[in-house]
């Protein structure tokens, strides 16, 4: 089992407290605990969650024994095809017709936001593991979902701050020209300027772009020390690949990636990505606990897990623990119980769920290893420092979430 004693102890204490407080008639809503896994199984975001995330979910359920207090656990899964109405429709159907108790996965932000609206209207519960948008627990927060692994705020915050502190004080921004890119650029600009750096130039490129050579040339001409990538997915991958072909790093400039996953780095190879600074919520080789779980996962799937896939296991286990202790799958009670219990497992350190639904935990600043320093196909990051949970995420004081009293 992967949840440790501390969690267990505090959970038991909590369960006891709830029982004494009179919540004793709590019950399972029916004859099973049902978890629906909704993710992009066949499109752009397939590799960061996708079928591998479903494996992680199944692993969590198997490790839990396949049942909670004698009630069996059933898993549903669906491909949202990155379409908000397919996602919303599927979840509505799950709640109305299948009595699904928890929706897990949730990757593309359009799908996630649509699904959380459905969850709120139908009193469901969801754990978001794949999405990046920090708005999910900000203006789009609901009492019916929790955002687990990461969001753009610590990514921008962690990377930009660390880079400026290391002397990278002049930035050129490559920004994807749509809402997400602009938000990321805004976050980075603020952090860079607060720490005494400056933005010397930038370019808004269309989304999506396959050929970045022109923009890389402009970045080279800008004389900035750091080229910040305020984009995601294939745009980031293409930008980094092209930068390496044009010798950007050899000429003394450095890339700072803001939203990069293990599968992206693996796809590009270390030759193209070495030296890249990034922020991650988890890395399989960061310590013994993480390694032990990741190796079990690798045996099943044949790939090392991304932080999203690890987060799916971690969040599902936390959910099942809460259900087991409470003896109910009532969303409101479970949501409260999950927030009460601290989260300390192979994935999250110093983790807790805030009132806005954000699960804050320690984040890590990482640098991609050089091909010489790497000892294996998946040995790609070196963890440079830890960003403490309470500093990493957007402070509640700045929150626009309706659940936060500001």
């Amino acid at each position: 089992m992967t949840f440790d004693r501390k969690t267990l102890a505090s959970s038991i204490a909590l369960a006891a407290a709830t029982l004494m407080a009179g919540g004793a008639q709590a019950q399972m809503s029916d004859d099973a605990v049902r978890i629906g896994y909704l993710a992009d199984m066949s499109g752009t975001y397939r590799d960061l969650a996708g079928p591998g995330g479903l494996e992680a979910l199944e692993m969590a359920v198997e490790d839990f024994g396949g049942e909670v207090n004698g009630t069996p656990i059933e898993i549903f899964s669906a491909d949202d095809r990155n379409s908000a109405d397919v996602g919303a429709n599927t979840v509505r159907g799950w709640i109305d017709e299948e009595n699904v108790d928890l929706v897990a996965g949730l990757v593309a932000s359009s799908v996630t936001i649509a699904v959380t609206k459905v969850l709120e209207a139908n009193d469901g519960l969801g754990i978001v593991s794949g999405s990046a948008a920090s708005s999910i627990t900000d203006e789009h927060c609901t009492p019916n979902h929790i955002h687990w692994v990461y969001d753009t705020y610590p990514l921008a915050n962690g990377t930009a701050k660390a880079v400026v502190e290391q002397g990278g004080d002049s930035w050129f921004m490559l920004t994807a020209d749509y809402a997400f890119g602009h938000a990321l650029e805004g976050d980075v600009t603020r952090v860079v300027e607060e720490n005494g750096g400056e933005i010397v130039g930038g370019v808004h490129h269309p989304f999506p772009t396959s050929d970045f050579s022109s923009y890389i040339l402009q970045a080279q001409g800008s004389g900035a020390k750091i080229v910040g990538l305020a984009n995601a997915g294939s745009d980031t991958v293409n930008a980094i690949t092209t930068a390496s072909q044009f010798g950007l790093t050899q000429s003394g400039q450095q890339l700072a990636g803001l939203l990069i996953f293990l599968n992206d780095v693996h796809a590009m190879g270390l030759e193209a990505t070495q030296g890249l600074l990034l922020t991650t919520g988890w890395y399989w080789d960061m310590d013994d606990q993480a390694r032990e779980w990741a190796e079990r996962y690798f045996e099943r799937v044949g790939r090392m897990p991304t932080m999203v896939q690890a987060g799916i296991y971690s969040s599902t286990t936390h959910y099942l623990n809460a259900v087991a202790e409470q003896g109910t799958d009532d969303p409101e009670a479970i949501r409260a119980a999950m927030a009460e219990a601290p989260i300390e497992d192979f994935f999250a350190r110093n983790g807790r769920i805030r009132e806005d639904g954000r699960m804050v935990h320690d984040m890590y600043l990482a640098q991609v290893k050089s091909p010489e320093a790497s000892e294996g196909e998946w040995d790609v990051y070196e963890i440079l420092s830890t960003i403490p949970a309470e500093e990493a995420y957007r402070p509640l004081a700045e929150s626009q979430c309706k659940l936060v009293n500001n």
């Binding site: 899964s77 949202d80 936001i113 269309p206």
Partner: protein, 328 residues
Amino acid sequence: MMGTSQTLTPALRRRRQAKLRRNTLYLVLVAIGLVAPFVAYPVFLMKVLCFALFACAFNLLLGYAGLLSFGHAAFLATGGYFTGIMLASYPGLTPELGILIGTLAAVVLGILFGALAIRRQGIYFAMVTLALAQMVYFFFVQAPFTGGEDGLHGVPRGELFGVISLRSNVAMYYFVFAVFLIGFAVIQRAVHSPFGQVLKAIRENEPRAVSLGYNVDAYKLLAFVLSAGLAGLAGSTKTVVFQLASLTDAHWHMSGEVILMTLLGGVGTLFGPVVGAGLVVSLQTQLAQSPLGNWVSVILGAIFVICVLSFRSGIVGEIQKMVRKNFK
């Protein structure tokens, strides 16, 4: 006298019978539509109806005017986004007005696209509509009010005419059903009117239609705008149902999907697109949750190939052929 009435009567009777049969069919279908939400899941049915209307609008152009548009997603998305923005930013606006505005936006876009595209035929027409729709897609990605990849969320369903709340799925369903019937009736009337006959004439032989003195371009443009407007109506209604608008509706894959629905159901038949939309939507929802979930696009592609190779009249088209063979 006797002779003429004897030769006329069977023909007349047959025509009357056909009309009676058609009207009975309509009545039965409307009755099915009315009880459907108590049998099947209303949200699913609403989705089918929205896509059915979309496919019918597309079919008006392909099936009756012979123009294959590969950019109809642009109208669906334009209707959806405009309705969504209006309803989300002006809380006082009633849903039917929001839908009207979305539809008008699609009509305006249809006039612009149509004026450019109808100058070409066949493959050129398909490519031009595709490229124009692509421009619309980029616009929606970048425009600040669409929310980019996040999409536009929190569109209120509101109260119909300011009176009837659409919050319940059943109430919403009947409204969508009514919208669908109106759209379908417009298409049915257009197809069976002299306008529809001229369209068919243009499809079969354009030079001949020109030589008969018809202003072919005006007819084509009208058909295009009508089709665009109805596609916009479908998109607008869908936005109210799901309370969101997203980029999926503007992507060119959506333009491909509507072709698939029409092709599968039967090009140039009134009911074909409805059947096709029903099948494709159920396939997507059912398949996506099965162990074959990851293979949805492969399966859709295979259906495409099979339809084109050996099933070109579509389901309704094949049934019509069978009926004609057996009852004549």
